[in-house]
Symmetry: C2
Subunit: 476 residues, 2 copies
């Protein structure tokens, strides 16, 4: 499916409007589906998301984590068995009702109550450590404002890694392995995430700790973007997940679970895009290079033939390349459409280029044109692709730096947050102080302790000395 | 996850018992999930199914059909709008209930009532023909006996192609395109499907016609395995799917929808497997070649080094190869485990092979060993892989031939069916005669008109002359 009509995009400074428009105009999501909090993935969006998913599949499997697929229906009994989990999700649960009117199941909001009752069986079959993941859709009846890819009621392309270990130490090492993998995914997306340790009163229901990644969106709001939950033995004691130790004694396992999904794409769209639409890292772009022929009637045949030759050459070099031969629209319109779709590189070729044995290469990130000798094009493009990745990452770093400012008083911090900024403050880590730096009604929250170590400061609330720093901002 | 313990498989003559055992022992499906009609896909099963899915993705996309993803929740109103569809599925529908107790949605049993209300919008955006597909899980509360991958209540890896066309003729050509694609998928799986035209009283609710593929399972039962539904304008009139013709007049589109999924894998398992377990076509085998070192303590280092070299060589040649270096089990146990998993080729290498510069190559389909010169191994394996594919396909052809016998009387036909056979009979195509050659209580059914043309015969019921032939058998 290729869109025919030209379309209009609001400026990115009007962030949410821009975001919703770009989702439709770049053929990512159609929000006209008649059920709130759900949408249709359009063809370009599916390709883009699959490129991200293929990368996490590769990283998980290289790390020895095996893919499984667990049913959507979860026995209500198994869900209720885990009181903290059930209390945490109760308000968000969809039930599945049979045609007979019976309602024994809930629809999976997260995987634990579906998977963990089988974990002891799998430990018997496969031994320890047990390391599995699934990529599924999950369902949560969200009462907060929904935003496509950011907070949906049908959460698509959602991965969850679940692991079980003999010792606490091994499970902690596993959490670090997950963090390394997550950092690799973000690197692939040219985005440097902000990583924090969550305080114990702000973790996944029943967990004993958590590491979380965040991104700052262009409107200054923080978006939680992937979490590693340290479950300790809390869940293994509930679901009786055990193994026999060397003395034949039953022992509970130590567990880690880690999840994220389409929010990766939300960050890619929001952080790299500009007033002209998407701007994709070449790693995940469904089309890395678009060739647009520039010609009059008399040069048509020659130009098209040269363009097709070039396409073949690029394809052989492993570049995802397309050629736009549509005749009913002008080159300018083609430029516009491929720019909305964020294609990293455009090659323009006309009689002038053919004559001079060169190519006009446009890069989407900087909106600049270069003339490149035809016989050096592959080398040039390979360099360009990695340069675009680095340029995008630097731009996001700068954006984050411009949003984050240090503050010593809550008043000044909140003032900055209300202006669309992110406040960095010192904070002792205690719950009463945490509650003072959040304003739930305005969705202002602190995100936990930044992983970076800092020199000693005073807690912005109680003035106790601390090395902990956190970010405070509005949250999606 | 790699299974440690040896396990027992019943003989294939005890088909359903064998089938269920092989699903677990080959790490395809775990049926211990506590909800009837659902199961957990295990790692080897996921890999295997993904290899099949990747092939249909490739074929659909090469044909210009675009992948989308439509929500699971379907508005009850949109479902009820289509009376025939709703009547057809009513008994099988799961409802989704919100935490508030409201029940406005059903869970998708098929895609039409979810997709078609958006089709007019997409036609405006993208023009005609509209050709899309999705691969999803669908949900049907089946009252018939469930069998993993054959009839599940959670139908995983289910693809649906939906297309809309300006003319009846174009839609009929589309149906033929789908049939060609389906034949390519079956070829890839080394299985020759049986294809029929369904009589109009046996089609998808509301459709005007259907082409269906069937496979015969080893117990002589027929398994419907993929259908192409010719919807005519029945659905476009209900969901108001229209376009403007050249005179500016509103016209209803002509539609085709085509679906299948995990039943491909059910057929692969059931038809190619044997008393030792799975037997996979190399096209889809997650591991095409397993290298097992044969060694004593003193030769360990040398043999392992040679095995690793060989693995690298095979991997570079594009072969999916693994090496089994486990030390806690014997080569015999390794053979047994990889045979259950259906790995097409095993290479055994020990000091004898290294000395003679040869390799011992075992093929899973024929259970035979050959000695091959080391420096000819790539060429040999490439030939072997395609030979295994052809051998498997021929074996299935022979199995089908042995099951199907011609009959002139209903009595004899049913006798053969009750013995586990498939009866081929002539049949005029009329509904009263159709009903006479089915016995719903015993699940004996006719499957429609075989595509092959035949000379004239008499209808087995009414004795009218006809060229129609059909198969009658028990149905899964």
């Amino acid at each position: 499916m290729t869109e025919i009509k030209p379309r209009e995009l609001p400026p990115k400074s009007n962030f949410i409007k821009w975001y919703n428009s770009v989702l439709k105009l770049a053929d990512i999501a159609d929000k006209r589906y008649p059920i709130k909090g759900t949408f249709v993935w359009l063809p370009y969006g599916v390709k883009l998301m699959r490129n991200i998913k293929e990368h996490w599949d590769k990283l998980f499997q290289e790390s020895g984590i095996s893919e499984i697929l667990v049913p959507l229906f979860v026995s209500r009994k198994n869900a209720e068995a885990n009181k903290k989990w059930y209390e945490g999700f109760q308000k968000n649960l969809y039930s599945a009702v049979l045609p007979t009117g019976k309602s024994q199941f809930i629809l999976r909001p997260t995987g634990e109550p579906a998977m963990y009752p089988l974990f002891s069986l799998w430990i018997k079959d496969y031994g320890l450590p047990l390391r599995v993941y699934e990529t599924v859709s999950s369902y949560r009846y969200e009462s907060r404002t929904t935003h496509t890819l950011i907070r949906d009621r049908e959460i698509t392309f959602w991965y969850e890694i679940h692991t079980a270990h003999k010792t606490k130490k091994e499970s902690e090492e596993e959490a670090q392995t997950h963090l390394e993998i997550i950092r690799k995914i973000w690197k692939y997306l040219s985005i440097p995430p902000i990583v924090v340790n969550k305080p114990p009163y702000e973790v996944f229901p029943g967990a004993v700790g958590a590491i979380e990644a965040y991104t700052i969106l262009p409107d200054g709001r923080l978006l939680e973007n992937g979490s590693i939950n340290i479950l300790g033995q809390a869940y293994s004691r509930i679901y009786d997940i055990t193994y026999m130790d060397e003395e034949g004694k039953k022992q509970y396992v130590w567990q880690i679970c880690t999840g994220n999904g389409a929010r990766y794409l939300a960050a890619v769209i929001a952080l790299h895009g500009d007033d002209r639409g998407l701007c994709l890292p070449p790693t995940i772009a469904p089309v890395q290079c678009i060739i647009v022929p520039i010609m009059q009637k008399k040069s048509k045949q020659e130009v098209e033939a040269e363009c097709l030759k070039l396409k073949e050459k690029l394809r052989e070099a492993g570049i995802r390349v397309e050629i736009d031969l549509r005749e009913n629209i002008t080159p300018g319109e083609k430029f516009y459409q491929w720019e909305i779709k964020g294609v990293p590189v455009r090659i323009e070729m006309g009689p002038r280029e053919i004559q001079k044995k060169c190519l006009t290469v446009f890069r989407r990130d900087l909106l600049t044109r270069e003339t490149v000798e035809s016989d050096k094009i592959i080398e040039y493009l390979n360099g360009l692709m990695s340069d675009i990745g680095a340029t995008l990452e630097n731009r996001v770093k700068k954006l984050f730096d411009s949003k984050v400012k240090d503050f010593d008083t809550i008043e000044d911090a909140f003032k900055w947050v209300r202006k669309g900024g992110v406040a960095k403050v010192s904070w002792c880590g205690e719950q009463p102080c945490y509650e003072r730096i959040c304003e739930t009604e305005q969705a202002i929250e602190a995100i936990g302790t930044l992983l970076e170590t800092e020199k000693k400061h005073e807690c912005i609330v109680c003035k106790k000395e601390t090395t902990n720093r956190t970010l405070v901002s509005k949250i999606y």
